[in-house]
Symmetry: C2
Subunit: 395 residues, 2 copies
């Protein structure tokens, strides 16, 4: 039997990252390729305690079918949490609990993009989201995002096009893969453009609470007064990703449509995870917990940057994130990045080739992504030294 | 801001069942409308024990990101389990762990149906699956399924069409909504047709283990020697649906494509649920557990049928299931089914109007669905009596 797959799925390759991660199953490998939160940051004891309590006192509530919209207690707790410093959810908005933020990306494309419709993204941007958009037949148009600057002229040129793009996908805080953060000024300008051209924004904010330097910048969702922003607020990076819970906040009409999509997709998200998270958010000191994560990430990032400064060839450029989990490294033009990544892997150090994060992965690219949240301090030191040597060897 | 949604999603209404279920939140309501497993059938103590053990000894394994394919232990345990009486997974096949069977329906349409492609279904069939297919732009063609007979001539007429349909969606055991089971003979004939016309079969088997009378009939998956069948094997009805775990078994090439779809959809399923289920399947006596569920369902079904025989007008017809959770009731033609359902709801008894399960819900329909797994014995008696009175009042 010869199997024929759909056009939309033929645009999606198995994630380049996941293929590299398979190589990193080797215990000798030093992996800077993943995007896992530091395991020591998980509130293990608290989750164990809450879980035991729920399973002994109210087990049916997590074992029976639930409602698609999400557990009421979690919606309440998450609304308070995401509204604690700013108004992310306001009048006319609604929250939908999803199986991770990834699902929000898929619903956005499924509900907003007919096949062939355009989605604007930062170039580079988060591979998993780009794949979700492509898997529903959307066409990506990347706007250069470099040195903290989004090319607003190029953005406006695309926004002007007819038929009009369906939404812009943006990660304003500590972006994956670059670690860069969009300034308040740029956020406001992008919102103005969104309003002028009536194009929605899908704001992905998994890393916002992982800021370890400087002051928080308001989310585009909180700045929006015109129902232009759909907000993906994840709990994966501040509680635990294996639980697969995120919160979609947006204008009621859009969230209702996403809810219908969720019925058809997985009926509802795992209830144990929803109930445990609801109680963790309400019964524990989230600010103290987040501060302890920030401390871990700050130390790891600073260590990686210090070692990079020590060992990398001075002509290698890289971002200096003030939060998040990633550093974006750009090699001098005459070094072949793909060859560099391949040689690094031969020396047991894994990084992700930067072209994987472009709207079109066949474009020329001299960058790669490094993750500092997962490896131990010893591995960071050892791995950076090996990569540094390679920047000299291949210079 | 005026929001414009996609063509594919405009075909999908919020589930008729879920709207009725909202009415049943009223504690005075007797609901035969749901499709929940009996809560007394959940292995509560065992799940509590396994969960505590995992969270105290290996918490990171359920809190950190996992792999898309699914937990290795669960794949192993589920393979043994679903292969215990027949060979569901054979050489050349692979298993993917999904977030409930609903996700398998979505992946089938996403990976196999371009917009406008045809999916064949039994008429009536499971609403949630039909919505998943429609939400990806597939066109449904129903084949009449009545008195245990699938109209094979009508099926062949559709299979002959060009362009060729992409797959047939079938629920051979204790079908939702009718409770009917397809004979071995018909299964074999449908497989022959699938082979002749090279059209895949998506076999949904959530209720197979809920047989309380007669002998099991081999799954179409186990009968297939030509890589024609994708098998959706759920754990929701025999362990717990709120955990959202199912197993997709199919030819490796197809399951690999579904795995790419899953990466873009929710990365992986909740790990706590996967690990708990893996251990439950291996450490406990599943056969004894399943027998205890069968006993509960047999008693509830027999009670409902006995009461229906006692109170329903003799011209009302209904299926006599030998397993599963549903009975399909057909009113005499001169009774308006929609009005009947409305009047029943006014008398605080909820059932689901049958047209919701048709390929085209505007078609004439005289049937409705009743569920016997969720209500208590007292509610079954009380509700059937009210419905019975209504069959006379409206005759």
């Amino acid at each position: 039997m010869k199997y024929v797959f759909t056009d939309r799925m033929s645009n999606v390759k198995a994630s380049a990252i996941r293929e590299i991660l398979k190589a990193t199953a080797d215990p000798h490998m030093i992996s800077f390729a993943g995007g896992n939160p530091a395991a020591e940051a998980f509130p293990v004891k608290e989750i164990e305690k809450i879980s035991a309590d729920i399973l002994s006192h109210d087990p049916i509530s997590v074992l029976q079918y639930g409602i698609t919209e999400g557990d009421k207690g979690l919606i309440e707790a998450a609304t308070s949490f995401f509204n604690r410093h700013e108004q992310a959810l306001k009048d006319g908005d609604k929250m939908l609990i999803t199986s991770g933020s990834q699902q929000i990306m898929e619903f956005a494309a499924k509900c907003l993009c007919n096949e062939g419709d355009i989605v604007i993204c930062e170039n580079p941007s988060f591979l998993g989201a780009l794949n979700a958009f492509k898997s529903l037949g959307a066409i990506l148009k990347g706007v250069e995002y470099k040195d903290g600057q989004l090319d607003l002229e190029a953005l406006e040129t695309i926004l002007k096009q007819q038929p009009k793009p369906k939404f812009m996908y943006l990660i304003p805080n500590f972006q994956n893969p670059t670690g860069m953060t969009m300034s308040l000024e740029v956020r406001k300008k992008v919102l103005e453009l969104a309003k002028k051209y009536e194009v929605l924004i899908l704001e992905d904010n998994p890393y916002g609470d992982l800021r370890f330097e400087g002051d928080a910048i308001p989310s585009m969702k909180s700045l929006d007064q015109d129902g232009l922003v759909i907000y993906a607020a994840s709990l994966s990076k501040i509680i635990a990703p294996g639980m697969r819970v995120a919160c979609c906040i947006g204008p009621e009409e859009i969230v209702n449509k996403f809810t219908v999509a969720k019925q058809a997709s997985d009926v509802h998200s795992n209830l144990w995870a929803q109930k445990v998270m609801a109680r963790y958010l309400t019964e524990y000191d989230m600010d103290a917990h987040i501060q302890s994560i920030q401390k871990i990430y700050k130390d790891k990032c600073q260590l990686m940057l210090t070692e990079m400064k020590k060992y990398f060839h001075p002509e290698v450029e890289y971002t200096k994130p003030t939060g998040g989990m990633f550093i974006w490294v750009t090699l001098p033009k005459h070094i072949d990045m793909q060859l560099f990544v391949k040689k690094a892997l031969e020396k047991n150090v894994a990084v992700v080739p930067g072209n994987a994060f472009l709207d079109d992965d066949t474009k020329e690219c001299h960058s790669f992504r490094m993750n500092f949240s997962t490896p131990t301090d010893a591995k960071i030191k050892e791995g950076v030294k090996i990569l540094g040597q390679l920047t000299y060897d291949m210079y």
